[in-house]
Structure formats: structure tokens, C-alpha cells
Symmetry: none
Subunit: 139 residues, 3 copies
Amino acid sequence: MSLSMRNQMSGTVLAVTTGEVMATVKVRLEGGQEVTAAVTREAVGELGIEQGSAVRALIKSTEVALATGAVAGLSIRNQLPGTVSAVTTGGAMAGVKVAVAGGELTAAITKDAVEDLGLAPGSEVTALIKSTEIALAAG
Amino acid sequence: MSLSMRNQMSGTVLAVTTGEVMATVKVRLEGGQEVTAAVTREAVGELGIEQGSAVRALIKSTEVALATGAVAGLSIRNQLPGTVSAVTTGGAMAGVKVAVAGGELTAAITKDAVEDLGLAPGSEVTALIKSTEIALAAG
Amino acid sequence: MSLSMRNQMSGTVLAVTTGEVMATVKVRLEGGQEVTAAVTREAVGELGIEQGSAVRALIKSTEVALATGAVAGLSIRNQLPGTVSAVTTGGAMAGVKVAVAGGELTAAITKDAVEDLGLAPGSEVTALIKSTEIALAAG
């Protein structure tokens, strides 16, 4: 099975916190970063996700935002520093590739944002991903 | 590979429209509904998605909204009518199962929304999914 | 029509930028803020969205992030300042109500984020919403 989701990063589950409906899963990626995924409790049960499980974090490009400056006091749990490696611009949207520890991310953001932030190859950025936007694959 | 994404529906690609960065892929699901996924152009190329391709539409529960009553004039491309089969309520969020033609969807919405809409087993609803929230799996 | 989407704000379209597949729509909300929605070009055509159109911006709670500090150089187009009016905490997630000019927003974020940011009624925050997460209703 191949997935359209551009962002797939392997890691190991550090902790699972379970609510009635949702669960948050902390994952240490191979690149050393920690990310949190908010998925349904049901999914955690069916996939048998627990501390130590090998998983892949899956993220659609449209769910990745970028910041160029420091970001303080942000609810977004997942902040991966990296360097822009390529920018492709369309009529309304732009695709930005970001090299991060252990891999590469693709962000689909507006063309306006690319221009306002002056993003180009070499730009230092932080990729921001809301926990609810990360899915997990097991096995 | 097992995926945490609760919503996985098989179908056949009807059409692909390609831009510089993004592409929209129209898919006829096995249940007969048509859905549109907005994914990166790169993903379409790498997965070899074209008219006639067998794909699965993948949607995180947190990306599914629900409407009661008719929905007119909405930018959200994907509107799947169904009937609520179960509601699980937590402290902040709720999980709602919706039986649709050809399968079942799970929506993770706020507890407040469940209460305001009076959702319960048997409620007629329309599941709403923005095109940018649908990922595709091929093969 | 009742929608599960907690966040619905009326406004007027200021401009539409159209790509091959996607389009960005700038909207001035009744509260005076400007927001940008990235929707499919097809949706813009079918809904007849153009400069001057009356629309409602629709946003799922799970798509709203919150920041307490200054946010510089961020690709996220939509940043609405407000004040926390209520926090509801579940096992894994939390719902945060934010009073903004012209209305109220609900953000579904992780419980961890609420604790780390020390969010409570009265907290000054900025609601952050990626353009791809805003849907539009016309009429």
C-alpha cells in the first residue's frame, strides 16, 4: 500500500494517554524529535499501540504550517526545526520541502505565505503540526 | 500496515485535475458516493493515480464534521448522508459512528456539538469532509 | 441546517485568487478581522464566490490552535486575538472557548497544551487557523 501522505516518519511510542473518546500518543522519531498524535481511543486499541510500539507518524502536507521566527506559548505540540530545501509555487498554493533531522517534510501552504515569509532554499524554519493532524500506522 | 485513521473507503478514480502544486482526485466509492481529495501533485505522480485506479480514501475522524438537515451552498466537496449508529461522549470530545452507503464513518467532534445537534442513534446526518482532509492509498 | 462545526463567522469576500486546482478566498469578518480560506477552485465556481459575496467561514474546533505569546513569521494566515472564556478538560483533549471580536471560537486542543500554556478564563490568546482548514458557506 502506498499513501498519498507526503510525510511519514518512523518512531517508537513513548507514552499513551487515554480519554473516553480520544487518546494522545507520544512518539520519539528516528530523528530524535518527539511528536504527539491525538487519535481515537478506538484506534489505539485496535492497533495495539502501547509504550514501545513501532509506529509511523503520517501527516498530510496541507496540515503542516511553517514558522520562521521563534514561536512561544503555542498549543501546537509538534514543532520540528529544519531547513527549506525546495519551493514549488502554483497559482494559489505552494509546496515547501523542509529537511528535518531524520527525514524530509512537505508543507502545502498558500503562495501568499511563502511570499510574506520570504521562504527559499536555505531558509531556517520550524514545521508546526497540530496533534489532531497526525495519524499513526502500526506494523 | 494498520492505520489509526478510522475512515477508509475503497473506490475507483474517476478523474484527476492537476495544478502546479496540488491535484484534485475524484473517486467513486463502492457505496456509490463521489468524493474529491485534494492531495499534492507529487503524490499523484508517485502513486501513479489516474482514471480507473483503485484507491482507498483515508480520513481522520477529527476531520469529519456532521450536519443535520439539508446543506446548501457549502464549499465542502464531500457530503455523505447517513444515520448515526452510536455516540460515545468524553469530557471534551465525542465520537459519533455514522452508517453510510457502503460502510461506516467515525466523526470526532466536540461534546458541545453532539448536545446542540441532539445527536443520538437513529439521527439522520450528513458527514462533511473538506477535500484537503482526504488522503489516498493505492495498491 | 445545523452544523457540528463550532466556529461559524459571517463576512464578505474581499478577493479571490484562483489556481489550477485550489483557490484562496480573503474574507473580512463582521468582527473586522480578515481571514483567508483555501478551498477547491471548483467550490468557488459552484458557489459563485466573488468579491462582495456574503459568506460564512466554517472551522472545525480541532483545526483551531492557540498561542499565548507573540507569533512572528508564521505561514498560518489566520490569527484572531481573543480572550479565553471557558476551558473544559477531558482525559486527553480539552475544549477552549475564546471570545473574539464579533463572536466566539472553540478550540479542541490537547489537555497537555492547556496545562503547558496555563490557559484559564481571562487568558489572552491568539487563535491560529491554517487557510486549508477554513470552509465557506454561501448565501
